[in-house]
């Protein structure tokens, strides 16, 4: 029994209706003669306040409002990967085929194609007792992703029938479970309310890094699979480029890119480039592991609010299959502004800068849906979600509420810096103000998989950068020439670290992705160089002799000159560096 009411007030995306006493909070409703999609966000007696996800132009009083009986949900089934959805999972490609280049109301379009057939490969055995989360069978969704069809959460019983290997649409029954003496049919298509986290068996510690191939991130401020990070920065600092680099190169199984209130042309950039870019480990197009949720800045603001939840609900679904999922949200500030706009129309009491007082709890709810978990189901699957949220602070001022609250709920903070960006130092992640809370948890992985001296070297490099920061204040007053050679060497090494290591060119075919092994070797060469040079400078070698060493140019060019699969060249470089220093030392005697 669904509720039926009528419109009594329209104010932009906020609509009030009466006669909805039978509906429930957060129920999805169809508003008006055009059936606009909305969600109930307040109920008082028979009066409901509805947030409408589509333009309300032309909506009149007394038009009907129909309850759908279910909360705002996402459709889950093969066909998600490679697709582009808006904030409430409407398929933008299909809408374009109906309404042309401009988005208009297209009634009856479903998120996923009901006609397309997928090859289902059953793996569960008839007679087995199955619970929610157990795998019934698999579908090769793309070359990169094996879609694992699971028993819907909440269902359990004996498997009495399972479809044989063959082609099925997502609405055909592929399995039947006997639940309390009754038969329950299961289809590939399942639904899940976006605002409810999908349950798991238990949470685990995050100990494996998300390798992004970006040196400043992986080496200095790493993020774990299952971790959460914030990228705040003023406009032009490179938030989007950084997000896109992570979407391209991180070693997650599934990437969900939520373009939340951002530029249309940026989404096209992703749509254009991802099918052409190949995954460095598998060689398949990146689009084959990517889902795009695109609610650009000119699309309805309330759907922008929903887009974050749509994204994370999809992420949880793939996590439950046992995958490592990375979710990029660009930008959470636009999401918070959508929250503010709707809150304003509801005439709620504002807290800081007009944002509603529940902004921090909403942010917390979102970031708490990340993590490494043991998934539901009887096999011991683990999956993870890592969320990386861009923050666009007004005027680049990090003291504003969205940045401050995001900081409370994320463990990694990559502060983008306008000054670095103006000097064209990219990625413009400021190494003095950024931090990662995962270093201790991830050191084990680096020590086992790359080198046991990893943390030693990274701490040493940080010390050099720190020392440079202090020296720079003096240099500003007296010029570099006035410093003793030992301190000038620190400036020199720090310059090498900044240019040869921290700066990374996203447009250079080699430098755009740097493997962990290469990162470590590069860092080792620079830090070892510093110690050796320090030795010869102590013995009286003038600083200009050190900077003139021929190996310096090789070090400066190693990031783009030596491909990831030719690390022996870095070893040669290391030998050359030692030989250069020895020669210099010999010349002193």
């Amino acid at each position: 029994m669904t509720a039926k009411g009528s419109v009594i007030r329209v104010a932009g995306p906020v609509v009030e209706a009466k006669g909805l006493q039978d509906s429930v909070m957060h129920e999805m409703v169809e508003v008006g003669n055009d059936g606009l999609i909305g969600e109930i966000i307040r109920l008082e007696g028979e009066f409901a306040t509805i947030q409408v996800y589509q333009p309300t132009t032309g909506l009149k009083l007394n038009e009907p409002v129909l309850g759908t009986g279910s909360p705002l949900s996402v459709e889950l089934a093969p066909g998600l990967i490679g697709n582009v959805f808006d904030g409430i999972q409407r398929p933008l490609e299909s809408i374009r085929q109906i309404t042309g280049p401009f988005i208009k109301q297209a009634r009856g379009v479903t998120a996923l194609n009901r006609e397309k057939k997928w090859t289902f490969n059953p793996t569960a055995k008839v007679g087995a007792h199955l619970i929610g989360g157990d795998i019934l069978g698999t579908v090769q969704e793309t070359d990169l992703v094996e879609h694992r069809v699971m028993v819907p959460i909440g269902l359990q019983g004996k498997l009495t029938k399972i479809a044989s290997k063959g082609d099925y649409t997502i609405v055909e029954t592929i399995a039947t479970l006997e639940v309390d003496g009754k038969n329950a049919d299961v289809q590939m298509l399942q639904k899940w309310p976006v605002r409810t986290p999908r349950p798991n068996t238990k949470r685990l510690f995050a100990t494996v890094p998300l390798i992004t191939g970006q040196r400043v991130i992986d080496t200095f401020f790493p993020i774990a699979k299952g971790g959460s990070a914030a990228i705040p920065g003023p406009f032009g600092a490179g938030k989007t480029v950084t997000q896109q680099q992570l979407a391209k190169w991180s070693d997650a199984n599934i990437v969900i890119y939520v373009g939340c209130g951002e530029r249309g042309n940026e989404m096209v950039d992703v749509l254009d480039s991802f099918p052409k870019l190949l995954d460095p480990t598998t060689g398949h197009p990146l689009m084959e592991r990517t889902i795009l949720v695109a609610n650009t800045s000119n699309m309805p603001v309330s759907a922008r609010e929903a887009s974050i939840y749509t994204g994370i609900a999809l992420a949880e679904y793939y996590r439950d299959m046992g995958y490592a999922v990375a979710l990029m949200a660009d930008s959470t500030s636009r999401w918070a502004e959508a929250l503010r706009e709707v809150s304003g129309r509801l005439e709620e009491m504002p807290a800081e800068e007009g944002f509603p007082s529940y902004l921090p709890s909403r942010l917390a709810e979102f970031y708490e849906r990340t993590g490494v978990v043991e998934t539901l189901g009887q096999d011991d699957r683990t999956g993870s979600i890592c969320a990386i949220g861009a923050v666009s602070p007004p005027g680049g001022d990090f003291s504003e509420p969205v940045t401050q609250h995001t900081k409370r709920f994320t463990r990694v903070f990559w502060a983008l810096d306008a000054e670095l960006a103006d000097a064209r130092h990219y990625p413009s992640i400021n190494w003095m103000t950024s931090y990662s809370g995962y270093i201790a948890d991830l050191a084990g992985w680096w020590h086992n998989n790359v080198d046991e001296k990893w943390n030693g070297y990274r701490e040493e490099a940080m010390r050099i950068l720190q020392a440079e920061e202090e020296l720079r204040n003096i240099v500003k007053l007296v010029g570099p020439e006035a410093l003793p050679d030992k301190q000038r060497l620190i400036l020199e090494t720090a310059r090498v670290l900044r240019i040869a290591f921290l700066q990374q060119n996203a447009l250079d075919p080699i430098d755009t992705y740097c493997s962990p092994q290469k990162q470590f070797k590069m860092l080792k060469i620079i830090v070892d160089f510093h110690h050796l040079a320090d030795g010869v400078v102590s013995k009286g070698a003038p600083i200009f002799k050190v900077t003139e060493l021929p190996v310096m140019e090789d070090i400066m060019r190693m990031k783009s000159g030596i491909p990831n699969d030719q690390l022996d060249k870095l070893e040669e470089l290391e030998k050359k560096m030692h030989a250069n220093i020895e020669l210099l030392e010999a010349s002193l005697r």
Partner: protein, 465 residues
């Protein structure tokens, strides 16, 4: 449909540009309203809220002279539409697309909703065709491409008007003979400034390709909210139905935002930063995001909004929110202007996000990207040397620093600086850049491939001998 044609007499309240009408039936949200004053003057407005109690209407021309009892309102059953036609080229219109240049009305029945519809991201085509503006600092260092939105961040009294007029005169797609039009949108512009633009277009003959939408400083601010939308509606018609490449110049976005704040305050909305409404980002996006290219359509819309930063503050909400939406920005500097440099473009904070795909072999020249990145880093070096000079004096500098000083001065005087009527090709721009770079020792040019240095770097006198 019940309300159409019915005229309601009397309004229940008037506050700023907002009026409330009670006991109205069948009115839709966003619907157009005609408001008749007691003297018989007709004004337009739109429905911004409908409720059982009353309909809230925003009156575009303001509420001066309206009386609660004698005002008559009529609800027109559709949202605001403006005429669109190629006849509008060479003409001057108001915010409703009606001619105000004294010439006849347009013979067109084509009308379009001013708000348009959001462009489907999957229908967009990625912009990558270089537009040559003939202005070196833009072409060389913050290149404009077709379908981009690239604003000019200026300050009161800086030469943004001259720059805009120059771009309108000179902008062209290289090696292409495709229809090219300009939609010029003036918001809250003074009469002098408006005349400057009109004269400048007339003198050069550009006027026949320009449609001018004028909302002057003494026009009602509420109308200003319509002006860019009316202009962009025509731009969309020209681009996607008449296959034209349209450059939309909008000035001054600061006046637009002020109008937005005024209306928001009259509606007693909860303000966000500096009193501007919380939805200003979305509102600006609904204007700026109308730039672009569409798959399967020949035309395109390129936007160049101009705004004056209050107090030259780039973190002020207007430039700040704009910068978050647009694909880069061109920043004018008071400091350069004082040194007599025109256009006073400060390249360090200027940026074109779409430049990377619009330049290089085939569109501009192979060395373009390398040269631009070298200029950026050398100019940054020049600026840090300059600040060192203020402390330790020029004598205290090393030779390398002195070379940077010489480079920077030459770069500002020859590359950034150019005549108001001077139209440079991209090749000329790059050659001037190489001349400036020749002040630096060759080993400093680390951003440039050695083969380009070989090919383009001017040989010094000693080498020639």
């Amino acid at each position: 449909m019940a309300g159409i044609g019915l005229e309601y007499k009397g309004v229940s309240s008037i506050s700023g540009p907002i009026i409330m009408v009670e006991n109205v039936k069948g009115v839709g949200y966003d619907e157009l309203v005609s408001v008749k004053t007691q003297t018989g003057e007709i004004r337009l407005g739109k429905v911004i809220q409908v409720s059982q109690k009353a309909v809230t209407v925003q009156v575009f021309e303001g509420t001066t002279g309206l009386s609660p009892t004698a005002t008559r309102t009529r609800f027109l059953g559709h949202s605001l539409e403006v005429p669109v036609s190629t006849e509008m080229l060479g003409r001057v219109m108001n915010s409703y697309g009606e001619p105000i240049d004294g010439h006849p009305r347009f013979f067109t029945d084509e009308k379009r909703d001013v708000n348009g519809y959001p462009l489907n991201p999957t229908a967009r085509e990625y912009p990558k065709d270089f537009i040559q503006t003939g202005v070196s600092a833009i072409d060389g260092l913050a290149s404009l491409v077709r379908g981009q939105k690239l604003p000019v961040f200026s300050g009161p009294g800086l030469s943004h008007n001259e720059l805009a007029a120059q771009i309108v005169r000179q902008a062209q797609i290289r090696n292409a003979n495709e229809p090219f039009n300009v939609v010029f949108i003036a918001m809250g512009l003074g009469h002098d400034d408006a005349d400057f633009f009109r004269k400048s277009f007339e003198e050069t003959g550009a006027i026949k390709n320009v449609a001018m939408f004028l909302n002057l400083a003494d026009d009602p601010p509420v109308e200003r909210i319509l002006t860019p939308r009316a202009g962009l509606t025509l731009a969309e018609y020209l681009a996607y139905e008449e296959d034209s490449h349209v450059l939309v110049v909008m000035t001054d976005m600061t006046n637009y935002c002020e109008a937005l704040r005024e209306v928001s305050a009259a509606m007693e909305e909860v303000p966000s930063r500096k009193g501007y409404p919380g939805y200003m980002y979305s509102d600006l996006a609904s204007i700026y995001e109308r730039a672009g290219r569409v798959v399967g359509k020949k035309g395109s819309i390129t936007q160049m909004p101009i705004l004056t930063m209050p107090n030259d503050d780039i973190t002020h909400p207007i430039p700040d929110l704009t910068g978050y939406i647009t694909e880069g920005q061109i920043v004018l500097s008071r400091n350069l202007e004082k040194q007599g440099i025109y256009p006073p473009i400060y390249i360090t904070t200027s940026l074109s996000r779409l430049m990377k795909d619009g330049i290089g072999k085939g569109s501009t020249r192979e060395d373009h990207a390398n040269v631009a990145s070298q200029l950026y880093s050398a100019y940054a070096q020049y600026n840090s040397v300059k600040s060192l000079v203020t402390i330790i004096g020029e004598e205290g500098l090393g030779t390398r620093d002195k070379e940077y000083l010489r480079f920077g001065e030459r770069f500002e005087k020859t590359l950034i600086n150019q005549g108001k009527m001077e139209n440079r090709t991209i090749e000329q721009t790059l050659d001037i850049a190489w001349d400036a770079l020749s002040d630096l020792p060759e080993e400093e040019l680390t951003s440039i491939k050695p083969e380009y240095i070989q090919k383009y770097l001017p040989k010094t006198d000693t080498e020639v001998k």
